[in-house]
């Protein structure tokens, strides 16, 4: 039974769970900072799924296409994250606002 489980499956399921967890976090976290972290984890979850799928048949070396896509994805996600951080910092500095709810 247990022996039937493949490495990639464990990671793929983890990816699914991480995805949902961070999606919930994105909605429920108040502070900009944590929302940004939630989007990062969201991205990581997606990448994890990609890579675990790439691992399916080749044991030596994973499918290069998802790997390349994930590298691209990481860069894109980091760029977006950096931009979001820059925005959050500016908002905080200009208005002292750190969540969408409070209106200073």
């Amino acid at each position: 039974m247990i022996a039937g489980i493949e490495t990639h499956q464990i990671y793929a399921v983890t990816a699914g769970l991480l995805f949902c967890m961070s999606l919930g976090g994105l909605f429920l976290c108040g502070h900009f900072f944590k929302k940004i972290i939630a989007t990062k984890i969201l991205g990581t979850a997606v990448f994890l799924l990609f890579i675990s799928l790439g691992k399916r048949n080749a044991m030596e070396f994973a499918d290069p296409v998802p790997q390349a896509m994930v590298i691209t994805g990481i860069v894109v996600a980091v760029s977006a994250g950096a931009f979001a951080l820059a925005l959050a910092r500016r908002i905080w500095r200009e208005t002292g606002q750190s969540t969408f709810e409070d209106k200073p």
């Binding site: 989007t39 990609f50 799928l53 977006a80 931009f83």
Partner: protein, 484 residues
């Protein structure tokens, strides 16, 4: 062909590039209309390994829309950003950002690869947010961050769907995926995730929460771009996925669900627009409502598809939805530009402040009125053709329950459009000194408004273009190698 992604150019150069890009879009559309669809394999690699670019009727229609609106908005922007009032913040970055955005939009309309589409969505999203916060005013910043987070979440959901699809069919090219797709729960979930992610970006009710603040706090040309083009891009993608990729696996229930969201958006958006006191917020809410109309397309074509590809209302639904996108693109751009002129001249965004503009800014008022006519769907206008087709499709297909939504939406739209116009006719007791507005800004707004009306006179060409590899003809086998 349309990868003109220049950066760091100042206004005149930017304008020139805008003209070239628009011309390229039109040229491509012409070529597609004459020769049929075009496919170009980037890097010389075929699918599934390489990325393809692919132009058919649907993409060309959107390319040309983007070209026309883009060019006129560029002309407007050139005057707008040379005004002393609009110099704050990083406004000199408008040109590079806008041209990148435009390039990404074009890239998106042409891309035939799921992952590449993700990258273009992300570029579109980032550029759109950057444009939103251009002025650096705090409300714009907050709205921009909200937009950015929503956009990231949306594209991640989309990417998750892509991962699932890659997992099940090992391909990313739209055509290859479409051919090798079979049912199954993983595909359904993938599809759901992708559509949901894109719905966030298209701001369909109830996922529209980010739109009104973002679109209303941006500067006028930016608002026009966002409302007229950026939301259309993700709509295009939903449409593309729906009819080309998941063609066989979409269910009637899914179509009805999207239709219901659209209907709710029509009612809610229009109602909210009626309640706003600030002009730009009103126009932004109106976008939410008008986007809803486009989604009424889905239940109609889905049911049609179940009933066989030659269901008589198919052509109506299809044309209606696309026409709505076109007419709204033109009309909303005109409206935001016209409101931009108002705000500039009067110095206030209050709906009540637009008194007696009909005498003093006749051209702009006229532009606003033309755009309004098209939004309401009064004949003769693009909006009328759209609503006519949609309404007819609802009757013919027996889905009459969408009809009241279309009509009530029109009625509410008439309410807010005429509330502004009525105010514009009222004379002032104390004439406010209007600031002079560059003529080019007034003219471009009027041209866009007139275009929204004029496309109502001639649907034939658009239909012809749409007909090139229309998704309902099962003839996508022919692959023409990179004919650029």
């Amino acid at each position: 062909m349309c990868f003109l992604l220049p950066a760091r150019l100042r206004a005149p150069t930017g304008l020139a590039v805008a003209a070239v890009t628009a011309a390229a879009a039109v040229a491509l559309a012409w070529q597609v209309a004459v020769d049929g669809m075009i496919r170009h394999n980037l890097g010389g690699w075929d699918a599934p390994l390489g990325i393809g670019l692919y132009a058919d009727g649907l993409s060309c229609v959107f390319l040309v829309l983007t070209g026309v609106v883009g060019l006129l908005v560029s002309v407007y922007a050139r005057s707008f950003f040379s005004l002393p009032e609009e110099q704050e913040g990083a406004t000199k970055l408008f040109w590079p950002l806008w041209l990148i955005l435009w390039g990404a939009l074009n890239g998106m309309f042409l891309s035939a690869d799921l992952f590449n589409l993700y990258v273009t969505i992300e570029v579109v999203g980032l550029a759109a947010v950057a444009l939103t916060v251009l002025s650096g005013r705090p409300p714009a910043l907050v709205a921009g961050l909200r937009y950015l987070l929503a956009a990231i979440a949306g594209s991640m959901a989309y990417l998750m769907g892509v991962a699932l699809i890659y997992g099940s069919v090992s391909a990313l090219d739209l055509q290859v995926v479409a051919q090798s797709i079979e049912g199954g729960s993983s595909l359904r979930v993938a599809f759901g995730l992708m559509i949901a992610g894109l719905l966030v970006k298209t701001a369909v009710f109830p996922l529209h929460f980010w739109l009104p603040s973002a679109h209303s706090s941006a500067q006028a040309p930016v608002s026009a771009i966002l409302s007229a083009l950026v939301v259309k891009a993700s709509f295009y993608l939903i449409l593309r996925l729906w009819v080309d990729v998941f063609d066989g696996s979409v269910t009637v229930a899914a179509g009805q669900a999207l239709g219901a969201l659209g209907a709710a958006a029509v009612l809610w958006g229009s109602y909210q627009a009626l309640r706003q006191r600030r002009l730009k917020l009103m126009v932004a809410h109106s976008t939410v409502g008008q986007i809803g109309y486009m989604f009424l397309l889905f239940p109609l074509i889905t049911l049609a598809h179940q009933g066989g590809a030659d269901a008589p209302w198919l052509i109506h639904a299809w044309t209606g939805g696309i026409y709505q996108a076109l007419a709204h693109g033109l009309a909303k751009a005109a409206m935001f530009l016209a409101v931009g002129v108002f705000v500039l001249a009067v110095g206030s965004d209050d709906r009540e402040a637009t008194v007696d503009l009909v005498g003093r800014l006749p051209m702009t008022t006229f532009a606003l009125a033309l755009a309004g006519v098209s939004l309401i769907g009064l004949p003769p206008s693009g909006g009328f053709v759209a609503k006519w087709m949609l309404l007819k499709a609802t009757f013919t297909s027996g889905q009459w329950w969408w009809a009241p939504v279309i009509l009530i939406g029109s009625f509410l739209t008439a309410g807010y459009v005429f509330m502004v116009l009525r105010q514009a006719f009222a004379p002032t007791k104390t004439p406010i000194q209007l600031k002079p507005v560059p003529r080019a800004m007034e003219v471009t707004a009027l041209l866009l408004g007139a275009a929204a009306i004029l496309i109502g006179f001639r649907a034939e060409e658009v239909l012809f273009l749409l007909d090139v590899e229309a998704p309902f003809q099962e003839a996508v086998e022919a692959e023409e190698g990179g004919g650029l």
